[in-house]
């Protein structure tokens, strides 16, 4: 069966979240329904209704401050740690409301790589092993998983001789790849990446993109990026955010070659001012 475009959310014409069964063969891993998010009295997300396909790469683009990070951080309930935030609507992981699930369980299944790299002030090895230890991995398997995760994050060859050196001794780009390795080690079902390549050189970026292609076999990937070529190269589906609204969500090719909304077209062709 041919893969059809995912559900296109038209926030103006349709009550968001009203019609939620996309005409598609892909299985949604994460869905949101009528999602409104607030920092105190400031509403950062408006009526987001979206189906994120399982084992695909979904990219979000949009100008700075449009709510991409906020959206990503609602999906692993990370925003709950920020005082004064709240949301209404639903976020469903495999059909289950994440608000009703145990928060550590949600975060264990939905991993995250942050916009700013944040390695622990521990050794390189301990950074990657941390998630395994707190989740009760068997001691014997830890070293092996750490190595495999570092290999997948394209960092192993560079650091295999200084595994027990502090992570702070790594370069910015290496630290970001360490954070990716740390997230991969616990094998999340969904991996949220917030501009993971903004500190990386083209070679490391390419390696990360290859990695994402690889883990797509088993993992649902959601990536925020400012790099439109990257979204075009990587993503199966792309969503465009503007001022807290999901303007358009469709197959990546459709977004870049045949956008339905004027705002999307202006943004992807660089006419956005």
């Amino acid at each position: 069966m041919a893969i059809q475009p995912p559900h296109v959310e038209d926030t103006s014409a349709m009550p968001a979240g009203g019609i939620n069964a996309p005409q598609t063969s892909v299985i949604p891993k994460l869905r949101t329904r009528d999602l409104n998010f607030y920092y105190g009295s400031f509403q950062a997300l408006h009526n987001i209704g979206i189906d994120i396909a399982s084992r695909k790469i979904t990219a979000f683009i949009g100008p700075s401050g449009c709510g991409k990070s906020t959206f990503l951080r609602t999906m692993n309930r990370m925003n709950e740690t920020v005082r004064g935030t709240r949301y209404d609507g639903q976020i469903l992981l495999d059909g289950e409301d994440i608000r009703k699930m145990d928060v550590t369980g949600v975060r264990r299944r939905v991993g995250m790589v942050f916009q700013k790299s944040n390695p622990f002030p521990k050794t390189i090895f301990e950074n990657v092993a941390y998630g395994l230890r707190i989740n009760g991995a068997k001691k014997a398997t830890i070293a092996e998983t750490v190595q495999r995760s570092l290999e997948r994050a394209a960092l192993w060859t560079e650091i295999k001789d200084k595994l027990h050196k502090p992570a702070s001794a790594l370069s910015g780009g290496q630290q970001q790849r360490l954070c990716i390795a740390r997230a991969l080690a616990v094998e999340p079902e969904v991996l949220l990446l917030d501009e993971p390549c903004s500190a990386l050189d083209p070679v490391a970026t390419l390696k990360i993109e290859e990695l994402l292609f690889q883990i797509k076999e088993t993992t649902t990937i959601v990536i925020v990026t400012h790099n439109m070529q990257q979204a075009a190269r990587l993503a199966d589906h792309t969503g465009f955010f503007l001022m807290g609204k999901l303007i358009e969500f469709n197959d990546t090719r459709a977004i870049f070659q045949n956008p339905k909304k004027k705002e999307t077209e202006d943004y992807v062709t660089g006419r956005f001012g």
Partner: protein, 287 residues
């Protein structure tokens, strides 16, 4: 115009020089006071500072070779109890303030801790007397340790809170995002990230109470012999200094000076170690 400019710049330069010399002078004065005290103590006490000072019990006045071994050990035991009590209580309260409590509550608790910190040490001594000595019907090492432990709590709370708050939030998020609970995050990521600050803060806190005399007068009392247990009166360096100094005997005065020197040296070395722990932070990060 240019003459006015010159005048202004001259005046500025003079003010600058005057300020520099005044502040410099007072800095020098501060440093000099410390070295004067050290030198003075050493000068008067050197005669009694020998190996036997550290190993012998006090001897009656007139007999040679008396020491303060019991007071040194007693001080050590009292400070140990104080640490075991003050550090965990202060640390856990500090964790609560930094990681769990709301802003208003934290503000109130911080204010109360500052008040507790301002309670005169003699009042703390009376409090420990009423709470421990009275019910137990005797002065004891334990009571002395509790008095000093209470004195350590406020600073322990503030130190913990401040050093934990200084840990960037991104580290907490990194841990939570991996599925760690808040408690796991605090004890395996946040506190270890602040460990050098915490350790040195607690050491400075200990050094601060090590010289306290007043709270010990009503609690540990004093003892010319070895203390017979944790629930028995005990000698301590500050109280010994006090007792010897007010005695009418010249050789006791000399011993008091020596004890003063030992106490100051102890406090200074805790201080220096604490500073080394702090500066070690940079070294480990760079390694």
């Amino acid at each position: 115009m240019s003459r006015m400019n010159m005048e202004i710049s001259l005046r500025r330069r003079v003010t600058n020089i005057v300020m520099l010399s005044i502040t410099g002078l007072f800095t020098l004065l501060t440093i000099t006071i410390l070295f004067c005290i050290l030198g003075y103590l050493l000068y008067h006490g050197i005669g009694s500072l020998s190996w036997s000072f550290f190993t012998n019990l006090p001897k009656p006045t007139g007999e040679a070779g008396g020491g303060m071994a019991n007071a040194i050990v007693g001080s050590g035991k009292i400070l140990l109890i104080a640490t075991v009590l003050g550090v965990p209580v202060g640390f856990l309260a500090g964790v609560y303030l930094s990681e769990y409590s709301g802003r208003t509550f934290a503000f109130v608790v911080r204010y109360v801790t500052d008040l507790l910190n301002g309670v005169p040490s003699i009042v703390i001594g009376i409090f420990a007397y009423a709470m421990v000595v009275k019910p137990m019907h005797r002065f004891s090492t334990l009571a002395g340790g509790i008095a000093l432990g209470i004195m350590m709590i406020p600073i322990a709370v503030r130190t913990t809170e401040e050093f934990l708050r200084a840990v960037p939030n991104s580290l907490r998020e990194a841990s939570l995002a991996l599925g760690a609970t808040k408690a796991t995050t605090i004890f395996t990521v946040v506190a270890p990230a602040a460990i050098q600050g915490l350790v040195s803060g607690m050491m400075l806190n200990l050094a601060r109470v090590a010289g306290e005399t007043a709270p010990l007068l009503f609690t540990a009392l004093g003892n010319m012999f070895w203390s017979r247990g944790w629930s028995q009166p005990s000698a301590s360096l500050p109280v010994m200094i006090y007792q010897y100094a007010i005695s009418p005997y010249e050789d006791y005065h000399q011993q008091a000076w020596a004890a003063g020197f030992v106490l100051l040296a102890l406090v200074l070395s805790i201080n220096v170690t604490a500073r080394l722990v702090i500066s070690g932070r940079g070294a480990t990060a760079r390694r």
